[in-house]
């Protein structure tokens, strides 16, 4: 039984010793009216300095306490309590019953303990889940699990097992709460206060267990930071004039586009790659491509071909990203990194216009029309090429166009690279976006490495692409190279790590808005918004208005916003989508469902970034499969890996 905690009445004089990290204040009849927290005392301390010990008794609890109090109902789920704690950050939550009587207190450590399980439980559960492969021996000791035998699947299965097993569904706050000692027993209060103060672990605890090891999560707040940091060096720009390739519609299905030879086809080698970068730079373009930085393959301005990630691949899993050296020296044998091209086309922060107030009070608005760099993107994956087309449709395909985006987009030169090395989190085949390249590129490359050497099959998809290709040291596209390239891409299609269920996803989303699965995913989702930051199609923004010190100059800035932010749907009194359940549902149903209604296509291109960069490894394909199963009426969760 957890030890009890003290409470006091509104008129109780506060002393330093009775203050544990949060002390409930009760009315005479036991109803909770407030909480005196450490920070309330600190505020007094800040005002009174060292005099606190003498002054504090003069203050009553009522004068000090924080209201309104954040509380949790005793029948709330553990997950709800954890979320409440995560949102408002109290160290302890008063537990109340239906009539607002205080029935106890839960602390962060109480909540966390639920997630720690007995060794026997863990072993039994793992054994049951692995039953078909009985050759595995499971031992658990002190929370460490040892598996012996031949693994039937990759370790991803086990990761998922542990995550699933660690859930604390069904348990209620009432099982955890500590009873409250009604006031007026100072001796006991002091003892308890000391006990709590010495207990210690509270600060180190989080409201939910971390699954990843520390060295795996160095990117924890990575994508946001990386996205902002990776602004390419601006280069002098050159107007290219209107381009003929502006396209809004794109057909579905990827395979049929493969290897259609356009105007120019050739083969270049590594020196040709260097020449390509030089040729693009010579045309006044800012060349952006993949390069290794901070333990990841990021997109950044590059000027030499050595900056490309030759010899680097990646290992991806839900919630996991690792660089891995490759022996073949390939430059493009890695899948999506933390950024996408939207960082450049639809930048994280951008000034839209500024306003000045003249001496007569008149408002003069100046629209920002910066001469944006004319980019050359080197290494655009087929999924990302489709993502660019999706954002084109959103930002320029409707009644209104975003002029800044349009300016950058019309001037961008796209060098696509077909995918020959899909990651374990990729599912472009099931989204019809890859691994072969679709329309919309200026040049498309296919990397080929075999006994005949390291080379790239190049096809031009636009006039400018042809003219750039004509400047490069190249040779004719021989049949062998073409054949190998075609085979590599075809093999990649067979090695996709994941897939979406083969159903009408829009219909699936529309029919499962009230599914129980959303509660399940909500219990895991931290609403951190990483998935929206790394998603190549997520376009949502918010605006900030700033003024200078004179007050006569104001600016309108636009920055990326995530639908996982609570304020995203703010309306007068509060957000429309308050629960994490509704926010994850909004994101997923928008990507897979309502995007069709709004913009005529899927908002998901199957790049897998949201799976990789989710701190708790939520997998949108797994969720879609689960929703499909629930819709079919056989809801039980199978610990299988969606294929």
């Amino acid at each position: 039984m957890p030890h009890p905690l003290p409470a006091c009445g509104p008129r109780t004089a506060t002393t330093g010793e009775v203050l544990v990290s949060a002390q409930p204040v009760l009315t005479g009849d036991g109803r909770l009216i407030g909480v005196v927290s450490e920070s309330d005392l600190v505020a007094v301390e800040a005002a009174g300095g060292n005099e606190v010990p003498r002054r504090a008794p003069e203050l009553t609890a009522e004068q000090l306490m924080s209201v309104p109090t954040v509380t949790v109902h005793e029948d709330a789920s553990i997950a709800q309590a954890a979320r409440t704690m995560g949102q408002s950050r109290p160290k302890r939550l008063p537990v109340i019953d239906g009539e607002a009587w205080l029935t106890g207190i839960v602390s962060r450590s109480d909540l966390l303990k639920v997630c720690l399980r007995e060794d026997g439980d863990v072993a039994a559960q793992l054994l049951a889940a692995l039953a078909p492969a009985a050759a595995i021996e499971v031992k658990a000791a002190q929370g460490r699990v040892t598996l012996d035998g031949a693994a039937p699947e990759s370790c991803a299965v086990l990761e998922r097992l542990i995550r699933t097993g660690a859930r604390c569904r069904g348990r209620r706050v009432r099982e955890l709460r500590r009873p409250v000692i009604p006031g007026d027993r100072p001796a006991r209060r002091r003892r308890v206060a000391r006990a709590i103060a010495g207990g210690g672990p509270v600060a180190a605890l989080r409201s939910r267990p971390r699954r990843c090891r520390v060295d795996d999560v160095r990117w924890r707040c990575g994508p946001r930071r990386a996205a902002v940091r990776a602004g390419a060096r601006a280069a002098p720009c050159r107007p290219d004039g209107p381009r003929a390739y502006w396209r809004n519609g794109f057909p579905r299905g990827g395979q049929e586009w493969a290897m259609t030879d356009g105007g120019g086809t050739a083969v270049i080698d590594r020196s040709g790659m260097g020449a390509l970068i030089a040729a693009l730079a010579a045309r006044g373009r800012t060349v952006v491509g993949p390069t290794v930085r901070d333990g990841a393959i990021v997109l950044a301005g590059i000027s030499r071909d050595e900056e490309l990630p030759y010899g680097w691949g990646v290992e991806l899993e839900a919630g996991r990203y690792r660089l891995r050296a490759r022996e073949d020296g390939a430059a493009f044998a890695h899948s999506a990194g933390p950024q996408s091209w939207k960082t450049f086309l639809h930048p994280p922060r951008e000034r839209q216009w500024s306003a000045d107030r003249g001496p007569d009070g008149e408002l003069v608005v100046t629209e920002d029309r910066p001469l944006s760099p004319s980019y050359a993107f080197l290494g655009v994956r087929p999924c990302d090429l489709r993502a660019i087309a999706v954002q084109d449709r959103v930002l320029t395909g409707g009644m209104y166009t975003d002029p800044a985006y349009r300016g950058r987009r019309e001037r961008a030169f796209l060098v696509a690279v077909e995918c020959t090395e899909p990651g374990a989190t990729c599912f472009c085949v099931s989204m019809g976006t890859g691994p072969a390249v679709g329309p919309g590129y200026d040049l498309a490359l296919t990397e080929v490495i075999d006994a005949d050497g390291h080379r790239f099959l190049v096809r031009a998809g636009s006039e400018e692409g042809e003219s750039v290709l004509a400047e490069l040291p190249r040779r004719d596209a021989d049949l062998a190279t073409r054949t190998v390239a075609r085979e590599r891409v075809a093999e990649a299609a067979d090695r996709m790590g994941r897939s979406m269920p083969l159903v009408d996803l829009r219909q699936l989303m529309g029919e499962t808005l009230t599914a129980e699965r959303w509660d399940d995913v909500a219990a895991r989702c931290l609403t951190c918004g990483n998935c929206t930051m790394v998603c190549p199609t997520c376009f949502c923004t918010t605006v900030e208005d700033v003024t200078d010190l004179t007050g006569d100059h104001a600016e309108r800035w636009r920055r990326w916003e995530s639908c996982f932010d609570r304020d995203f749907s703010h309306l007068h009194d509060g957000p429309v989508r308050d629960s994490s359940r509704s926010r994850y549902r909004q994101w997923a149903t928008h990507k897979l469902g309502t995007w069709f209604d709004q913009f005529g296509s899927s908002g998901c291109v199957g790049c897998g970034r949201c799976i990789v960069w989710c701190p708790v490894g939520i997998d949108i394909t797994e969720e879609a499969h689960a929703l499909d199963r629930e819709r079919q009426g056989n809801a039980p969760l199978h610990l299988e890996r969606p294929r």
Partner: protein, 277 residues
């Protein structure tokens, strides 16, 4: 949800407008009339909204509460920082305006039908240009009923003008909390449906107000036999850009700044039934 008919327009910066009139409608509500400082925006239709920018503070969506040539009228209620700044404007001040945005009431589409206008609180503001449009075309529509609900008599908008509406139709007003001088109806606005004379099967209804009021009124009307396609409601979500680019105003498949704010009850009903959609 459909392809745009018109050529794409840039999502422009705000255009300066000057406050030429200001009237306190209720203690926390003001009606401001704006005239373009230089070029005007394209004409607004009843039901459409503008993004009105208070210098250095921000902009908020405001439906037009009257349209008169290039002049725009908005009724703004003081609830937050930006609406507070707009409420505090004085004659001669300048604001920035973007628009017109969104769908309108599309009154001409229901010529020949009985009209039922139901407004709750400040929801009368977006409906006022519709009422004026209907009254300016006597004979084009059937029976005309305007039902208005407000919290207190002091919070009723456009009281003087509404008296004049009685020449062209029936106006019923109710309040939640009467004061000692109030001799009119007391009760929620849906109870006024019993007072109005209309033929449900050939009635077009226009509803604006708090969402629970919209739901209750539309459900009542459908129960009486009004076709859901002929019930138009004005919905509210967090509108920021007006051009469908910021994503904030999503309501399921709808981007309300683009596909709304005025939608049919057929569209709205299934979406409003899902909690936290």
């Amino acid at each position: 949800m459909t392809e745009p008919a018109a050529a794409p327009r840039p999502a422009a910066a705000p255009v300066p407008y000057r406050v030429t009139e200001r009237e306190e409608a209720t203690p926390d509500t003001a009606t401001i009339v704006l005239e373009p400082v230089r070029r005007p925006l394209e004409p607004f239709a009843p039901g459409q909204f503008a993004m009105v920018y208070a210098f250095g503070v921000g902009d908020i969506p405001l439906s037009v509460s009257a349209v008169d040539g290039p002049r725009l009228t908005h009724t703004v209620r003081r609830v937050g920082a930006t609406s507070g700044a707009l409420h505090a404007l004085r004659t001669g001040d300048t604001v920035g305006v973007r628009g017109p945005f969104g769908t309108g009431w599309e009154l001409p589409a229901v010529a020949g039908l009985d009209l039922l206008v139901v407004a709750g609180g400040i929801g009368l503001a977006p409906l006022r240009p519709l009422v004026r449009e209907a009254l300016s075309a006597p004979g084009r529509y059937g029976r005309f009923n305007v039902l208005v609900g407000a919290r207190e008599p002091g919070e009723l908008l456009y009281r003087a003008e509404a008296r004049g509406w009685r020449a062209g139709g029936e106006v019923h007003i109710t309040v939640d909390r009467p004061d000692e001088h109030w001799q009119g109806e007391v009760g929620v606005v849906t109870t006024l449906l019993d007072r109005a004379v209309f033929e449900p099967r050939t009635t077009a209804a226009f509803i604006c107000g708090p969402e629970p009021m919209i739901r209750a009124t539309a459900a009542d009307l459908v129960h009486r036999g009004v076709a859901p396609d002929l019930i138009r409601v004005s919905l509210e979500r967090n509108m920021q850009c007006g051009s469908g680019h910021c994503g904030h105003c999503q309501l399921g498949p709808l981007l309300l700044c683009r596909d709304g704010p005025v939608v049919t009850w057929t569209q709205a009903r299934p979406l409003l039934l899902v909690r936290e959609l």
